[in-house]
Amino acid sequence: MTRLRHRTPAAIIARAAGVSLLGLVPLGYVVVTAIATGAPTLSALVFRPRVAELLANTAGLVLITVPLCALVGVAAAWLVERTRLAGSRAFGILLVVPLAIPAFVNSYGWVSAVPSLNGLWSGVLVAGLSYFPLVYLPTVAALRRLDPAVEESARSLGVPPLGVFLRVVLPQLRLPILGGSLIIALHLLSEYGAFAMIRFDTFTTAIVDQFRSTFNGPAANALAGVLVLCCLFLLVGESGARGGARYARIGTGSARPAGRTLLGSWAPIAYLFLGLLVALSVIVPFASVARWLVSGGLAIWSDRYLLTALGQTIGYGLVGALVTCLLAFPIAFLAVRFPGRVARVLESINYVTSSLPGLVTALAFVTVAIRLMPALYQTTTLVIVVYLLMFLPRAIVNLRSGLAQVPPGLEEAARSLGRHPLVAFSTVTLRFVMPSALAGASLVFLGIVTELTSTLLLAPNGTRTLAIQFWSRVNDIDYVGAAPYASLMILLSLPVTYLLFARSRSERTAVNSI
């Protein structure tokens, strides 16, 4: 490996650092605007009743929705993976389907079904039903890889089944539960459409409203600053709660699948719970979309922007996925082949940036573009850059695990057979990384085709993605006209969602990078 090791890092570090520097723009923007605004103005903007109200709304939303999602996600995962319920495999797939329905489309489905929805509890309902799979899916994956012998040991030590779950299984699920909860909390902070639809004000909806009324005013920036602080608070909190514990299997473990519990007289309750969950999270939004589609008839499919929107959305999705994977590669490569502080710092900058609401990233780049590079403002390039920063970790996580699975011995074998290092790398390693790269690209694609908030802020005039068209129809109270766009977004998302489901059953990458 010597030639490869000595020669490549400088170039690769430069590339990785370039992307990561870009990732510092949103945080830099928040800090710089805060300083520029000045303490008196800033405190006047932050310490006012409106901010307190938004903070209470957002905190309430997070504090109620996240534990609820964790509870529902873990219960569903346990029922699907560890009981002998008939149809548990079907439920297993159905419970992932909500991931294919963008939260704002789910909200549209619910508002269609129950027009009076509004306020905190409606927000909890809609967001909970959209996001519980983010705990469910990693928990399923974790349950599948727990060593059944560990649970059997607990039983042989005299602990009854419920005790085994509480004392042995649940503690080992801490990482997926915490990880999933963090992602849900971040989604709750950054979601705009779903809450705007039910007239529930959070920081993000307020920022978008501010931005639309005053464009780039200091009020929006101050709110964005508070929102960023909330995000950082969550990130630090989760990492603290996670601690340094290692929960992987010790040793090789047992190859047997874990035993499944016979529920007996509890089975009807379990069916009721799973059935209700599927009905509320999948059937309600699907039925609403179907209802509008039927009532609109064939006429709504002749919407002249429909094909344009589909084409633009796929175009943005493909270009964004390609660019993101290409730029993620140096970072993933450094992390796997040259692990160390540099790689870690470069990688984690991107995780923090992508954890910030897309809205803040979008605001940052709008500001930077207007002040420093006006030519970039309202261009597709800027949109792609923001997508890149929002979804980069999805590509990094997958590429990294793909690279880590390629034994360096294979590349060395190719070189010992006379291949130039670069040829050996591209013919051996790259080929093996392709499936992971495709998985990462699919996830980025999924993110882009259902992205609404930052696209609304950034897109050049005339941009008509499915999400934007859907949103403008909904804003015109044209629910029928919005239905084709909603159904296309779901259709585009379904295959990738299935991919996520399949991966959660085999490998365990990508699940936490949604």
Partner: protein
């Protein structure tokens, strides 16, 4: 030691009668009858797929037999209409690689099964148990993944012993350890169990382990018990060729039985009245002693010529040509370097074991 004294021995006998178990349509265990005397160590040995782990799971209560009865002490724990689950059996179980709880420290692992009323004495009991399995009590604050494989196994044993079980079940607990560590861990575990007087059942595929660990060895083959007895009895008097081969190296010779004598190219090697005609004589390699032939000295024995010699480190594999055989393969110690063409004499120690011709 008062904390970890076992229950009285009369409760420790394990008794299996007519045990059968199927997975789908595949029979895994059939007609298993086995008794484990109180305080003894029984090894169930068999190749992979023989059903030994299933048998142990039936004993621990992780699985239940389709037919038959399992009694532990005075209580029937599995049988018609009875299925006592694992957590009510009071039976210790050590899994293949320890199955320590990864989210707990070593001390918390050991204390996991302790009753509430023992909570106050927990640190003392934990150190005592760690001491019993020859581990330094300071390890109590470590995480399981900070221990070596052998240490993990001993923690698993201490954890199981904390419940003061009268019966301990060990599922290939040494198989994931390196050779050297395996022997020493086995000795430690064996000593700890003996001193506590716990009735033990060990499952293994390793014949050396089976012969050294147990007071009683049960050979399991294709879901049936082929033979049960003391290690010596099984090694020296196997009831069939497969068992003989499974428990050690063998040298097989075609033989002929007539008038109560079994004759093979090495001479009369056993007495046997039950067979007549062609049969197979079996020797353990250590029963055949060879010496270089010194010309002019009549040392007795059978003369053979070395047709091939393969050096294998501490031993060498000789192929011997004896009049009337097609070459006899015999592993011998490497002390003397034999060469192809050397003439040797073969003496036998003890009788051969005779089986009907296969």
């Amino acid at each position: 030691m008062s904390e970890i004294e076992p229950s009285t021995s009369e409760h420790s006998t394990i008794d299996l009668r007519g045990i059968g178990k199927r997975y789908g349509s595949t029979p895994v265990l059939e007609s298993i009858d086995l008794s484990v005397p109180a305080g003894s160590k029984t090894v169930i040995v068999g190749s992979s797929g023989s059903g030994k782990t299933t048998l142990l799971r039936l004993l621990s209560g992780f699985d239940f037999p389709d037919v038959g009865t399992i009694r532990i002490g005075r209580e029937i724990v599995a049988g018609p209409g009875v299925a006592v689950p694992a957590h009510r059996r009071g039976v210790g179980h050590v899994a293949q690689d320890g199955a320590l709880f990864p989210h707990l420290t070593v001390g918390q692992n050991v204390a996991f099964g302790l009753d509430r009323h023992e909570r106050d004495d927990r640190p003392a009991i934990v150190s005592e148990l760690l001491d019993l399995v020859s581990l330094d009590p300071v390890l109590a604050s470590r995480r399981p993944d900070e221990l070596s494989g052998g240490q993990q196994q001993r923690v698993a044993l201490a954890r199981a012993m904390a419940r003061k079980p009268s019966v301990m079940l060990l599922d290939e607990p040494f198989s994931s350890l390196d050779t050297g560590l395996r022997a020493s861990t086995r000795e430690l575990v064996s000593a700890a169990l003996t001193s506590a007087g716990i009735t033990t059942v060990l499952v293994t595929h390793d014949r050396a382990e089976a012969l050294t660990f147990g007071d009683q060895v049960a050979v399991l083959r294709d879901g049936r018990l082929a033979q049960v007895g003391t290690p010596t009895a099984l090694y020296c008097s196997p009831t069939d060729l497969a068992t003989a081969r499974f428990l050690g190296d063998v040298v097989l010779l075609e033989a002929n039985a007539s008038a109560g004598q079994v004759r093979c190219p090495l001479g009369v090697v056993a007495r046997c009245t039950s067979l007549n005609g062609g049969c197979t004589a079996l020797f353990r390699p250590e029963q055949l002693v060879i010496d270089l032939l010194v010309p002019g000295v009549d040392a007795g024995g059978i003369v053979a010529r070395i047709a091939a010699a393969e050096f294998q480190g501490s031993s060498q594999l000789l192929t011997l040509e004896i009049a009337g055989t097609s070459g006899l393969e015999l592993p011998v110690a490497s002390g003397i370097q034999y060469r192809v063409g050397d003439q040797v004499t073969i003496h036998t120690i003890g009788d051969a074991i005779v089986f009907p011709a296969s």
